[in-house]
Amino acid sequence: MSVPVIQLDDFRKTYITGEVEVKAVRGVTLSIQPGEFVAIMGASGSGKSTMMNTLGCLDRPTSGRFLLDGVNVGELDRDELADLRNRKIGFVFQGFNLLARTSAAENVELPMLYSRPPIPSSEQRERAMASLSLVGLAERSDHTPSQLSGGQQQRVAIARGLVNQPKLLLADEPTGNLDSRTSIEIMGIFQKLNEQGITIVMVTHELDIARYCRRVVVMRDGLVRSDEAVKDRFLAGEELAKLDAEQKAVQLT
């Protein structure tokens, strides 16, 4: 078997705010292979975001081990973590987290500004455009976030996550604020990327969104409760066609 992209061994995360200790994650062991497409589900406060932040190298475990692509992240310093985020990980946040008053193209270029060795600006623009067309937004490249719909903003965020050709795409509730049609479109993009070999881990609350993935991990109170493959997987293309048909039917009556 190849090296897992993600290897968590008894991962724990405890937040200490003043007197109170919050054990957000209380011992998770999990391994995700290259090319997997995993949904993480669970009630609010079950530790999903906490885990995603660690997987995204934004944070370090309180205890336990996290190997990303075979590298022990807990042993790295701030700069090394930043480089890992830049090269290996695309992160799509729940709140999009785009730079305001900055065009879509420039938002997508952002990670490349911090690439080492530096990328020439012409290549940056090219790759940003390629990434935007991948999510179907090439023609909106000069629009700022405030001029884009929620779904479009989410797609810009995905394009930004993809622009450095990461091994791993992490998405925290990527469809949280979107209507069902846009959600399916986003899942379609993810499925396409996954078929190209990118490993995807995403958090979702919605069962039917999870069915677009290949594997579902359910968390409760900072622990993994179940971890199984998806049966009856949805394919975004088919679901969209069905939705179109339904909508047509509604309109016809």
Partner: protein
């Protein structure tokens, strides 16, 4: 690097009014540095020009000794250089090509029904050469005129104009000083107004013997003007004059001189000493306003870091290192202060000539002061921008992203 500049520029443009107000402190500080230094430089250039315009390779022997009687002693002390000292000096000191005492008297002088109150300088026949006076008409009086205390004079352009009218050659005319008829033998070419507003051409030059006898009644000279052969003998001549006069004034070894011999460099240093004090004072106040300006920048950068915490979080999340963020905010601060510096320099260029125009204060903006001002403003950006930038760079990515 280019990208960093672009980002910084954009961030500053977004708050253009705020950026400008922040720069104001630096603008004021740098403008006052530029103007202050230009006043010092201008005054110095003016002094140097006046000293150079006295002539070349000059020495001045003065009665009294400043290092003994306090700063003013040199000018206030009684004249103690005798005609004998003067003669001995001309006879015995090698390298002297011209020498002239200068005794001054203010006198009413009349010609026809015109009269004017003017400074009459008693000088030797060398004086016109030593001080590079040229003649518009007529010529110098002679050594014989000096020996005999003849009633002759040279007249400055302004005085001539007052007494005889514009462009009328006064040579051969008679003026009356204290009722004595004095004949004009030379008409001096104008030297113009010096920068203290003093008209150098409102003057009458007479043999010093005549002035001492008829006008001032002095028997001693306050000062001597001496011209030497060339720049390389100046210090030798200076030493020889010291020795000669110490001997003639019977000054015991170890006692202070009762006279001074100054070359032009020393005179310029003396007059510029006051300028230097002024320049230092202005520099001090400008420095204070620069510090205040720097604190303003620090304040605004701190506000900016707080406002843009989320942006910082996003940059960190996509892989910016701490030092990338540090560099970005530092660039912004330096850009702010350097732009303030540039505007301040511009303001200085605009203000300095106005100062000359309305207050007749000589100013001169030197390249080195501009370069220095600009460098200082950039350094202020680095110094005062560093703390806010460091604060930004040390943010935790998750905390920053969560920040509302």
């Amino acid at each position: 690097m280019f990208a960093v500049l672009r980002i910084a520029l954009r961030a500053l443009r977004r708050n253009i009014l705020r950026s400008f107000l922040t720069m104001l402190g630096i603008i004021v500080g740098i403008a006052s540095v530029i103007v202050g230094v230009s006043m010092g430089t201008g005054a110095k250039a003016d002094v140097d020009k006046r000293i150079a315009s006295m002539g070349q390779n000059l020495l001045v022997v003065m009665s009294g000794n400043m290092s003994r009687g306090g700063a003013r002693g040199g000018f206030g002390s009684t004249p103690n250089i005798s005609p004998g000292d003067y003669d001995a000096l001309r006879r015995e000191v090698a390298g002297v090509v011209g020498a002239s005492p200068e005794v001054r008297a203010n006198a009413q002088i009349a010609a026809g029904n015109q009269n004017t109150f003017v400074q009459v300088s008693g000088v030797s026949a060398d004086y016109a050469d030593v001080r590079s006076w040229e003649f518009k008409s007529g010529g110098n009086f002679s050594d014989a005129d000096v020996r005999n205390a003849n009633k002759v004079c040279l007249i400055g352009a302004t005085t001539a104009k007052t007494l005889f009218g514009e462009n009328i050659d006064p040579v051969g005319q008679i003026v009356r000083v204290k009722n004595a008829p004095i004949s004009i033998v030379g008409w001096l070419s104008p030297k113009g107004v010096n920068s203290f507003g003093q008209d150098q051409d409102d003057i009458v030059l007479m043999p010093y013997t005549s002035v001492m006898k008829r006008l001032s009644g002095d028997t001693m000279f306050r000062s001597l003007n001496i011209q030497v052969e060339g720049p390389n003998v100046i210090s030798d001549v200076q030493t020889n004059i010291y020795e000669l006069l110490r001997q003639r004034h019977k000054i015991q070894p170890g006692r202070d001189d009762d006279f001074m011999v100054r070359n032009q460099q020393e005179m310029s240093d003396f007059f510029n000493a006051n300028n230097r004090v002024m320049t230092i004072l202005i520099g001090f106040f400008a420095g204070i306003s620069l510090v205040v300006g720097g604190i303003g920048i620090m304040n605004i950068m701190l506000v900016s870091v707080t406002e843009r915490t989320r942006e910082i979080g996003i940059r960190l999340a996509v892989g910016a290192r701490g030092r990338d963020v540090l560099l970005q905010f530092l660039t912004e601060a330096v850009l702010l202060s350097a732009a303030g510096g540039a505007l301040g320099i511009g303001t200085g260029y605009w203000l300095a000539p106005l100062l000359t125009k309305y207050f007749e204060f000589p100013t001169l903006i030197s390249n080195s002061s501009v370069i220095m001002a600009f460098t200082v403003s950039a350094i202020i950006g680095i110094v005062f921008g560093f703390f806010p930038a460091l604060k930004a760079a040390r943010l935790d990515p998750i905390d920053a992203l969560r920040f509302e």
